[in-house]
């Protein structure tokens, strides 16, 4: 994907290396050539210094920004790489390589909308470049351009129908755009692939869980745990699914295992509190509800549960504090679909 350095000038022999006389100042071309030589040896920082020196003397050297950007890119300094590639593209709008690398650099520094914009321009030039389009598809996904992401992933899957990662990512996009059933179908396809990526069963289980398909969800969480027994979230969601299907003992075991691995899983603390409250262990339930609140005080659930538990114990003043927290939080939290989420009053 990332090609080699572009040699625009022959590598010069540098006089100081000969030890004859005091070194003469290098010109721009010499700095550029030295930079390329250093970059080829993987010495990116000194290469960058040489490219900068060259630019200082002559910013119009052919490909100088491209090579500078590439040095930054190789050393994973993506914001600097993007700035250099922007200059390269400005000098040569039609430079496919610069455009591609610009998009890749923006992707590298998580500026996905800019990545998508530049990678789309590049992919229009090379529509068969699947690697490029894969990064473009992911750029669309992470910049929440879901219809475009769906189209790209679907294109990639026409070329490689068994690509489990592509199915998973398409599933992510579909889930993010509220198409849960279609997302589930993609994860199911990924789970059937010859090589199943890590987290696929967990993702599929989560989608089933969202749809209240709790026995299916439990099966997938168990499949993930067969590969990753210490997967704390899989244990948590498995426990949650079991709790919701009246398998309290199994839920208790899995939730405790999850918390043994990670005390800071909100759902595990909440669910264990619910189980303990239902079993009459108010003291331990209270502790877990308070832990859930500690982990995420902005979620009303644990406040409400704790308030009800305290109320049932006659601790009305403490209960009222929790209820007041619920009222405040519930009023502030993002709301239901459509304008009940996205209403923008134009006053």
């Amino acid at each position: 994907m990332v090609k080699g350095y572009i040699c625009v000038l022959p590598l010069l022999l540098i006089s100081c290396q000969l030890g004859a006389s005091p070194p003469a100042p290098l010109d721009a071309a010499a700095h550029a050539a030295l930079g390329t030589a250093l970059a080829r040896e993987g010495k990116y920082d000194p290469a960058i210094q040489q490219y900068k020196a060259a630019i200082h003397l002559n910013s119009h050297l052919p490909a100088i920004y491209l090579n500078l950007g590439l040095a930054y890119f190789k050393s994973k300094r993506f914001p600097d790489a993007a700035a250099a590639f922007e200059e390269a593209v400005r000098a040569d709008e039609g430079n496919f390589q610069a455009r591609t690398l610009l998009g890749m650099s923006y992707y590298g520094c998580a500026r996905y909308a800019l990545a998508a914009k530049n990678l789309k321009t590049a992919s229009d030039r090379q529509p068969e470049n699947e690697e490029l389009r894969y990064t473009l598809a992911q750029s669309y996904l992470w910049s929440e351009q879901y219809p475009e992401a769906i189209a790209e992933f679907r294109f990639l899957l026409t070329r490689n129908p068994d690509s489990a990662p592509a199915h998973v990512l398409l599933g992510e996009v579909l889930d993010a755009s509220n198409q849960v059933e279609a997302a589930t179908a993609e994860f199911e396809a990924a789970a059937r692939a010859p090589s199943v990526p890590p987290e696929t069963h967990f993702g599929l289980g989560y989608l089933y869980w969202k749809q209240q398909r709790l026995s299916d969800a439990g099966r997938e969480f168990e499949a993930e745990l067969a590969n990753q027994p210490q997967h704390a979230l899989a244990l948590t969601y498995l426990g949650d699914a079991e709790m919701r299907t009246d398998r309290q003992k199994a839920a208790d075991v899995h939730l405790r295992r999850a918390l043994a691995l990670d005390q800071n899983i909100w759902l595990a603390q909440l669910d264990l509190g619910i189980l303990l409250a239902a079993g009459g262990d108010s003291e331990q339930a209270t502790r877990h509800f308070r832990d859930a609140i500690r982990i995420d005080p902005a979620k009303p659930d644990a406040h409400y549960r704790l308030g009800r538990l305290l109320n049932s114990q006659g601790r009305e003043r403490e209960a009222q504090e929790e209820f007041e927290a619920v009222k405040k939080l519930a009023a502030e939290e993002p709301q239901a679909p459509l304008l009940r989420v996205t209403g923008r009053p134009r006053q």
Partner: protein
């Protein structure tokens, strides 16, 4: 949907008579099944691309016997021009359809004098003067009307009754529904008015669903308003006791009311769902005092403690334990909560364990009504469905939806029946109000529903099975004549079930029908026990099934 900018929808010809036909008889597969029948009413709320909030909230309907002929007639509340709030076209007329009991509905609106004048939203039926004729209170946007039944014709007595004055603090209110209930057991029906939120067409916000396209704003952009309680003075007038009763201290965005004696202390309590606020449970403490206890009782919110778009509500005993439970409708992604009454003023949220969480997650609903539609002895839930929004701006959000009946599998576990129940015989719509009663005397409960900018629907119950039934029409003598608040326990075939008299129904609606019990295979009820609001207990023994019986309250011993 392709709406023009101003009000739309054809006005249907007045006086239209509609006959229904049960084409295919009973359905053999689904336990509950309905056949669609038309009725000549189209709800017109003046929908426009401006998306005034009231446009999406219209649609109350009532079933009641307006002329005492023994058949349930149908009243529809209708909208008006916005912003004038005047019924300046026949298409906005409220409508009263007389049922001849033989499958014909005739529009008698003009004769009855019920066309109305303003933007009407909900309806509450009750015989407030105990003269044996059902009166109706029409709840509206910035104006309510009390119509006294003079014997088949109605007089607007709003001003005389003292119900016309705007609120001194909040100004004209937006009333969406009302219920008649005797709060102090003095034998007179009092009036609870459900108020939604403050609305002013001049200052109403505009909310964009996408650039340039408006949709109905989230309720958070409007201020809450208090509900009202009016005490019946017994002389045709009412006294506003909202403040002294404690009701007024709780402004909300009320969308419905369920009446029941939740704690079985002999006094009627109120549950009021609010739209994106905590629900209210007003416990009647006696002495005209109410305490709001929703948090303590566990019904303020769904089990996860999040606000939901509380819509219409109903309260009946769904698990036959003698305690009235509560269910309400909400929007997609929120589920339709079900609160099981566990006694002593407490409730458990059983939305998940009942199966309703999974079933209702993708649904948006307005009007739940609890009734035994297959006469198996377990009450089911019929929910009118449809979104509050007008535009589908997110994937998988359905604006127009079919209605659904949730079949009670016993003990408050449910299965959803939509197409299976015949409810896709009509196109999906934004359904709103609903009322339940046996319209054709076949012992099966039918449903009338409304939908925004669409024809109303009559759903005739043609469920298979030969289960028996019993209907009780109670007449109070010491208690209010409608017997609202009376609790009934029926023992039949070794099973026991309970219900109580309440005409409040779902969203903005009223079902002034006899109390209906499905008896399953039992051919008689061995014992019927009635606890009247007066406290008088009455027993009936060995009552044959498959009949409507009229029961008069005995004198106090």
């Amino acid at each position: 949907m392709n709406f023009s900018h101003k009000c739309m929808g054809p006005a249907l010809a007045a006086g239209m008579a509609v006959a229904w036909t049960i084409a295919s008889g009973q359905n053999a597969s689904a336990p509950i099944h309905f056949t669609y029948a038309p009725i000549g009413f189209r709800l017109d709320s003046c929908e426009s691309l401006r998306r005034h909030a009231p446009e999406t909230m219209a649609g109350g309907v009532a079933l009641f016997d307006y002329n005492g002929d023994g058949y349930l007639d149908v009243f529809f509340a209708n909208g008006a021009d916005i912003p004038s709030l005047k019924k300046n076209s026949p298409k906005y007329s409220n409508r009263l359809f007389e049922n001849d009991g033989k499958g014909h509905f005739t529009d008698v609106t003009a004769k009855a004098g019920l066309a109305g004048t303003g933007f009407d939203n909900g309806v509450g039926v009750g015989d407030y003067d105990n003269d044996g004729r059902e009166d109706i209170f029409v709840a509206g946007l910035h104006g309510n009307h009390l119509f006294h039944n003079d014997g088949g014709t109605f007089s607007d007595v709003t001003v005389k009754a003292g119900l016309a004055a705007p609120d001194p603090q909040y100004g004209p209110l937006w009333s969406v529904g009302a219920a008649w209930v005797d709060v102090n057991n003095d034998g007179l029906l009092d009036l609870f008015v459900v108020n939604y939120m403050a609305w002013d067409p001049d200052t109403e916000p505009k909310c964009e669903a996408s650039p340039g396209k408006l949709d109905y704003c989230h309720p958070k952009f409007y201020k809450p308003t208090p509900n009202q309680l009016f005490l019946n003075n017994g002389d045709g007038t009412f006294r506003d006791v909202s403040a002294e009763s404690g009701i007024r201290a709780h402004p909300g965005k009320g969308m419905g009311i369920a009446l029941a004696d939740f704690d079985l202390d002999g006094l009627m309590d109120f549950f009021v769902p609010n739209d994106k606020m905590t629900n209210f449970l007003f416990r009647n403490k006696g002495g005209l005092r109410f305490e709001e206890i929703a948090f303590k009782a566990g019904v303020a919110l769904g089990e996860d403690g999040r606000f939901i778009s509380g819509m219409g509500v109903d309260s009946r005993d769904l698990d036959n334990d003698g305690l009235p439970d509560i269910t309400l409708a909400a929007l997609d992604g929120e589920t339709f909560p079900l609160f099981r009454n566990i006694g002593k003023g407490g409730f458990d949220d059983i939305t998940r364990s009942s199966g309703l969480a999974k079933l209702t997650m993708p649904m948006a609903g307005y009007s739940p009504t609890i009734a035994d539609f297959d006469n198996d002895g377990w009450k089911d839930i019929f929910v009118t469905r449809g979104h509050v929004q007008a535009l589908a701006t997110a994937a998988k959000v359905e604006i127009d939806q079919p209605n659904t009946v949730f079949h009670n599998l016993g003990g408050a576990r449910f299965q959803a029946l939509t197409a299976e129940a015949g409810l896709t015989a009509q196109p999906p719509a934004r359904h709103r109000g609903s009322a339940v009663g046996d319209l054709n005397g076949d012992g099966r409960l039918d449903v009338v529903t409304t939908a925004l900018s669409a024809a109303a629907e009559v759903w005739l119950n043609d469920s298979a099975g030969r289960s028996h039934w019993l209907e009780l029409k109670l007449e109070g003598t010491v208690s209010n004549r409608d017997s609202i608040g009376a609790r009934i326990k029926v023992t039949a075939g070794g099973t026991v079930q309970y219900d109580h008299v309440s005409f409040a129904a779902g969203y903005a609606s009223s079902s002034a029908a006899p109390v209906h019990f499905g008896l399953g295979p039992a051919e008689s009820a061995s014992l019927i026990e009635i606890r009247w609001p007066s406290g008088i207990l009455q027993e009936l023994k060995n009552v044959a099934a498959d009949q409507l019986i009229r029961v008069k309250e005995p004198a106090r011993k």
